[in-house]
């Protein structure tokens, strides 16, 4: 297991490095003058900036160095959590990013809990009641989740619960330490919309895997030995398909921790994804770099752990790789 872990960790390195290159290149290929924006000038003031100030900032940003050197400096700084200054807010990028992390974490955790609470029992129930109305309902739910875009579903939910019924606030975020009840009220709609989307995703994988398992040799063997169908399903199939569930939950965790751009936008929820969209509108590239890097590294790292768990649950994998 240790060998597998190390091997898998080593594999992660080139991916992460390539991702950092891609993210760094962002700032090279974008139009615009980083010096002007760092100086707090709009570009139509270009003639107003004194030369010596411009040159000083040019050197401070290391723009006089060759691009690969710039990359190394940038990477070094980034590893220490220094992503430069936000062009819009003129405060360290890391401060802006960190201020948005809690909101996204709360939303991500809440939707993940909702997703698991819906998908796992529903999946098991549908599997046990194979080919009955429960099963069909699960199929319908999966199709609904895949076909209906979250932001549209979110709008309908806002329309019903916030506008027509007036039960819930339609937007925003209140920190839990400020007022826990209002925190929950603000969280419930975006978390449910996002959670149901993820639930459909989990259920879809679960069902494919479940059907896969049903056709495995061991099931046939068990059935041939005369074990009753229900028992086979409970004892063998569900246990095995749990591996798939863990995997898909893991993959979705990465997605949720990065936040959902459309849902955070729809609900004016001040999380990381919303920050990303705002930074994109404003072409605040240091912020974009930091958020994108965070999201991508999150995916890579979570995938790493998912693989480890998967290998732990399924010994065949780790021997095959090792």
């Amino acid at each position: 297991m240790i060998r597998y872990t190390l091997l898998r960790a080593l594999q992660m390195i080139p991916t992460v490095l390539l991702v950092t290159v891609a993210v760094f290149v962002l700032i090279i290929i974008i139009p615009g003058d980083p010096v002007l924006s760092m100086l707090g000038y709009y570009a139509d003031d270009v003639t107003a900036v004194p030369h010596e100030i411009y040159d000083r900032m040019f050197r401070e940003l290391r723009l006089d160095r060759p691009i690969p050197i710039q990359y190394l400096y940038w990477l070094g700084d980034a590893l220490q959590g220094d992503f430069g200054k936000s062009v819009v807010f003129r405060v360290p990028v890391i401060d802006v990013v960190v201020s948005r992390v809690p909101a996204t974490l709360y939303l991500g955790t809440a939707s993940l809990l909702i997703a698991i609470a819906v998908a796992v029992p529903f999946g098991v129930w549908a599997a046990v009641k194979n080919d009955t109305w429960v099963d069909h309902l699960a199929s319908g739910f999966v199709l609904f989740g895949v076909a209906v875009p979250g932001f549209w579903f979110g709008m309908i939910v806002i329309l019903v619960f916030a506008i027509y019924l007036g039960w819930l606030p339609s937007i925003g975020y209140v920190a839990p330490q400020e007022d826990f009840l209002r925190f929950l009220k603000h969280l419930i709609m975006p978390a449910t919309v996002l959670g149901l989307d993820v639930a459909a995703n989990i259920l879809r994988f679960q069902r494919t895997d479940f059907l896969d398992q049903l056709h495995q040799d061991y099931v046939r063997t068990a059935r041939a030995k005369g074990l009753p169908g229900q028992l086979v399903i409970w004892k063998h199939v569900l246990k095995n398909s749990l591996i798939a569930t863990v995997t898909v939950v893991g993959l979705n965790t990465a997605r949720l921790l990065g936040g959902s751009t459309v849902i955070e936008t729809l609900f004016s929820y001040p999380g990381l994804s919303r920050l990303l969209i705002e930074a994109i509108y404003a072409r605040d590239f240091p912020v974009i770099q930091a958020v994108v890097l965070w999201m991508v590294v999150l995916v890579v790292v979570v995938n790493f752990f998912v693989d480890l768990i998967y290998a732990y649950l399924n010994p065949r994998i780790r021997y095959a790789t090792a």
Partner: protein, 306 residues
């Protein structure tokens, strides 16, 4: 969807399967759509949406961008089936106009991903060695980016237009095509008939196209269909975020963006474009799932909805 009239057909001819070999490709495909209820429903939906997108705009009495300031926010009625928007424009005409944009973006993006991803996967895996390794790591890096995030970043870099949306959406699907092909090439490379072809002196490319490609066409077809679905959604999300197509170009995402601002005054502005979007995605997903299950014997069952 239990009242499918084609139930009778599939039920009446349970012995159709063994005679497959004698059927032509057209017959096989038609037979598949007649036999599988999901594929059937998906196909009907798709045909309706395509008809709406490409013929519909000619049938409606209003131009999609013709304002009528005296008729702002009119609720759905006989003269405006889907109501009107903030400038008094007919929503039905606008949803239809948005449909053709959606299809153009989705079809373009999916085909572009196929045209880049498939040859890339085939060539690099066939060459093997360092080229293959480097490509694989690049593909890993692309996959690490959440698809929508990648599309957002790319579309911002390239500016809002249909062509840049093709590239932005296609980019994240390229690795999937490359992987499908790669898996298949590695698998087939060792097969006897390929070795035999080598022996009789066929060139590498000829082997690739004559022997390997035909075998990977079905999984590619599934992937393209499912990519249509995701491309429609991604395009709508981008335009909803104001990053995709900008007005006056009409897109479903753009309509929903506008609708969000008037949710209370005019809920119909949100309901209809969203429904059109959902039905289109549904049609592709139904067809894609059906084909996939049909090709994959492990999950193939007696047909019907799953």
């Amino acid at each position: 969807m239990n009242t499918n009239p084609m139930d009778a057909v599939s039920g009446a001819e349970p012995t159709a399967a063994p005679t497959w070999r004698q059927e032509t490709l057209t017959q096989r495909v038609t037979g598949f759509f007649l036999r599988d209820r999901r594929a059937m429903v998906g196909m009907i939906l798709l045909v309706v949406m395509l008809f709406a997108a490409f013929v519909g705009p000619r049938l409606v009495p209003y131009e999609p961008d013709q304002p009528n300031v005296r008729n702002r926010f009119a609720a759905p009625s006989w003269s405006h089936w889907m109501g009107t928007d903030r400038s008094g424009r007919d929503l039905l005409s606008r949803v239809l106009a948005g449909a053709s944009i959606s299809f153009r973006v989705a079809i373009g993006a999916a085909l572009l991903a196929l045209l880049i991803g498939a040859p890339l996967g085939a060539v690099t895996s066939y060459i093997g060695g360092l080229v293959d390794d480097v490509t694989q790591r690049c593909m890993d890096a692309i996959i690490a980016f959440p698809a929508r995030l990648l599309a957002i970043v790319l579309v911002v870099l390239m500016g809002p237009s249909v062509v840049s949306l093709w590239f932005a959406i296609a980019f994240s699907s390229i690795p999937r095509y490359a992987r499908i092909i790669r898996g298949s090439v590695l698998d087939q490379k060792e097969r006897e008939y390929v070795e035999a072809a080598h022996a009789i002196g066929e060139g590498r490319l000829a082997i690739l196209f004559l022997y390997i490609l035909p075998n990977v066409l079905p999984p590619l077809a599934v992937q393209v269909t499912l990519d249509f679905a995701s491309a429609v959604t991604v395009e709508a999300s981008l335009s909803f975020l104001g990053l995709g197509l900008v007005p006056p170009t009409i897109s479903w995402g753009g309509l929903l963006n506008d609708a969000q601002q008037w949710l209370e005054e005019a809920p119909w502005l949100a309901i209809f474009p969203g429904a059109a979007l959902a039905l289109t995605v549904l049609s592709f997903v139904l067809i894609g799932d059906a084909i996939r299950d049909h090709l994959d014997p492990r999950t193939r069952r007696r047909g019907g909805m799953r």
